[in-house]
Symmetry: C2
């Protein structure tokens, strides 16, 4: 009898090709060790609440009230909920038809898309059209939908930074397209050089690839860099010249840990450039409630905004979104709260500011502790985390370690990260999961462990690393490259 | 300059091919009319809360508390939440690592998957393995993931009932496979005849299609029929002989409006049949919190359970689920509550039973009012809604109406449904959106409008229909087929 449709050998090959290292071999091994009772520090994924970050009080109050609308008539509700949370819950319920239990429009609730448009206008200084904003179950789902719309087959290429967040490589595999890598320059603080871009496109075209879109992640994941206005302009001009859709992954726009390069959206830079580019370049920008000082990953709320996308294409994207009916409605309300937080004078304003500032200031300190910690280790060098939630140190593995990895049948950085996990419980993601230049090795860790735990974690890392290096370094001495 | 990647002409052709009538032309027109101030009765989608169904109190209390865990320490919380809701919220929070704001495992929280497995065991009498249960953002997302795993290209065929819920046709188009239709017999109360199945498969194979899987929807959507054990056995035997994966869409398992054929799961029938079939047939079953007496559509909670799927394939499905990190956590908790509702003796038990019974009994009455209402109309015949949430009357359009539709450039049933919408505000879905035999016309409406509104809605429908028939019927008289 021939293979059954769900036997491994007969599965869709694109499914098998997918790689997603953030929850790959290291994560699976960490989960096993945890089951066996080992204490694991999960720094494999940017999941702040899992590492102890507390949710912001006001948005949780509002969503709790939306879930329990019968409380709005309960005279005792005022004892445990502030009046502005009650008012806001009523506001959001008035935007639904049937509360949180009803499917919304497949693009999300019109009233919340309007709040998103107002947020974008305040941020960028240009009006935004709610009809071009679609709410999604987290940013990843939006990215996947746009890639699925763009990719027609293996000849279609998508420019993706290396190192990249593996959502991009995974989704491109799943939809059967081709990933066209462009390298970020570690020695230039993970900057983006347009000459590299041109080279990547030329090389892809020589292989018959039609390059259709370019992904930027700003602030960078896993690399943490923040793009300058000048750099963004170059990128936009490049996309315009090369006729590429720009996909702007801007989910870390609140996570900025330096003052030289504040976040600036691709859309603002585009519109500042004026016609013809501002009227023609196709841009899709992504945002989420999972990052920032929110970190509401489990709620799955996000949006994408389309600029210069023809109405007929917007209709097609709407149609496909309709198949899964609607993004989850509580997640939509979190998004509404994120783009429209308490204002000065509101009862909850002071608390909201105190909580959100506290988180952001602590992340800034942790970014510094972590970078400094890595740089104090033997054979480890690390750029400062300017933004996002990650540290991406380079681990200069001695030749003997690389040989040992080969003997163990492991990629060298996987070998290192597994040893780190077994020795310390720190669960990271090997750089090979994000892409890196040949012969260069990294790991990615989030900067999310609690601030008070950070010194101990970095000490534990240093102890492991320095012993590892001691063990594998040639006693002739291993010179830094 | 050549077309840009997001210009309509250069989009992925599979995206353009997708049709999803539930939110198609009729829905868009209804939304327009609503904007213009017309009162619309949205019966296009099974969205009970949008039509006034109230949420069950206990689950909403639990999820509200999970969203606001700081309330668990508030001495006033006991004034507005019953103790069992507080205890249950603590239970679910203990299953998370980081509350609702943290990503869970991509398959869902292990503790909730365990509760689902226990529910399945109680329901079917056979143990279920939590490792083979994946939680999803609603059942649709699960169906899409499995179809994406099975479909390798246009040569791969999926047997789908006609009429069908258009999720299936839409997803098969999106993933570039081939839909192989098998017809349900309207004159046999929408029964499924295995001879038809064989014919459909033979015909598909003669065109070079490799038939890989079969979809059943039980209870039926849009047709409302409940499959008998004998019929399910035939289907399972057929799938076994033909080497097909069976996809069992069982989202309406709580929605049963007659006593002759209670719901029985495909899995129970399969396991009752014993080896070899019970050990070999590949089955994936789907369930949701959106239907039943829950109707929590906006929360997007669902699961699928895999039977006889090889571990390596399960791993692949897990890997792809990982790309979008995790299903939304509040939706997972609703699912936990659905499979593990209050028990006799619990403080909230009486209220829970009263509320859920009330909804189900009212739906049963509405199914009857609607069927009888349709059958009282000129040229309309309608099978009784045995289960699910829909009525699917056949509308026997007179030849003149068909000609008028052609002149208007509309499919005849779309023409009829648009006229119905404009005249009455009732927003239905034309039968052509679900598939029907040539020359036969239907519409689908949910049975969800409030019981007290039902007589007026049916009277309004009857008035429109009978006038429509009067207008278009040949004065020679139009004989019923």
């Amino acid at each position: 009898m021939s293979a059954k449709a769900l036997d491994y050998d007969s599965l869709n090959e694109n499914v098998k090709k997918v790689q997603y290292a953030v929850r790959g071999e290291l994560y699976l091994r960490a989960s096993e060790l945890q089951k066996e009772g080992k204490k694991i520090i999960f720094t494999n994924v940017g999941n702040p609440h899992a590492l102890g970050q507390r949710p912001l009080t006001f948005p949780r109050q509002v969503v709790a009230l939306c879930q329990a609308p019968f409380l709005l008539d309960d005279p005792n509700a005022g004892l445990i909920f502030p009046a502005d949370a009650i008012a806001r819950a009523k506001h959001y319920l008035s935007l639904t038809s049937g509360g949180l239990g009803a499917y919304s429009d497949s693009r999300g609730l019109p009233g919340i898309r309007k709040e998103v448009a107002e947020f974008i206008e305040r941020r960028d200084g240009y009006p935004s059209d709610p009809e071009l904003i679609f709410l999604t179950d987290g940013a990843s789902k939006g990215v996947m939908q746009i890639l699925n719309t763009v990719i027609r087959g293996p000849q279609d290429g998508i420019l993706v930074p290396v190192p990249q967040y593996p959502l991009y490589s995974a989704a491109i595999s799943l939809f059967g397209g081709s990933l066209v890598p462009y390298y970020l320059e570690e020695t230039a603080n993970w900057g983006l050089d347009v000459h590299n871009l041109r080279e990547s496109v030329a090389q892809a075209r020589s292989k018959g690839i039609i390059v259709r879109a370019m992904v930027i992640i700003n602030p960078g994941n896993p690399t943490g860099q923040c793009l300058s206005v000048a750099n963004l302009k170059e990128i936009l001009r490049f996309c315009y010249q090369e006729n590429l859709v720009l996909l702007g992954d801007e989910v870390y726009q609140q996570n900025i840990y330096q003052d030289e390069r504040p976040f600036i959206s691709s859309r603002k830079v585009l519109l500042d450039m004026g016609p013809p580019i501002s009227k023609e370049l196709q841009l899709v920008s992504f945002h989420t409630v999972s990052k920032g000082y929110w970190g509401e990953c489990g709620q799955r709320g996000g949006y994408f905004e389309m600029t210069n996308i023809p109405p007929q294409s917007v209709d097609e994207i709407y149609k496909v979104a309709s198949i899964s009916l609607s993004p989850n409605v509580p997640g939509q309300i979190f998004l509404g709260l994120m783009v429209n937080p308490p204002k000065p004078g509101d009862i909850s304003y002071e608390q909201f500011v105190r909580e959100s500032k506290g988180i952001l200031e602590s992340l800034r300190k942790r970014a510094r502790i972590m970078t400094d910690g890595f740089n104090s280790c033997r054979n480890v060098v690390c750029n400062f985390t300017e933004g996002a939630m990650y540290s991406f140190p380079q681990i200069r593995l001695p030749p003997k370690a690389i040989e040992a990895a080969k003997r163990a049948g492991k990629v060298p950085d996987v070998f290192y990260c597994l040893k780190l996990l077994e020795a310390t419980g720190i669960s990271t993601v090997p750089g090979s999961g994000f892409g890196q230049k040949d012969g260069v090795f990294h790991l990615r860790t989030t900067i999310l462990p609690a601030e008070e735990d950070m010194p101990a974690i970095m000490a534990s890392f240093k102890k492991f690393n320095d012993e590892f290096m001691e063990q594998y370094e040639d006693y002739r001495g291993y010179s830094r490259m």
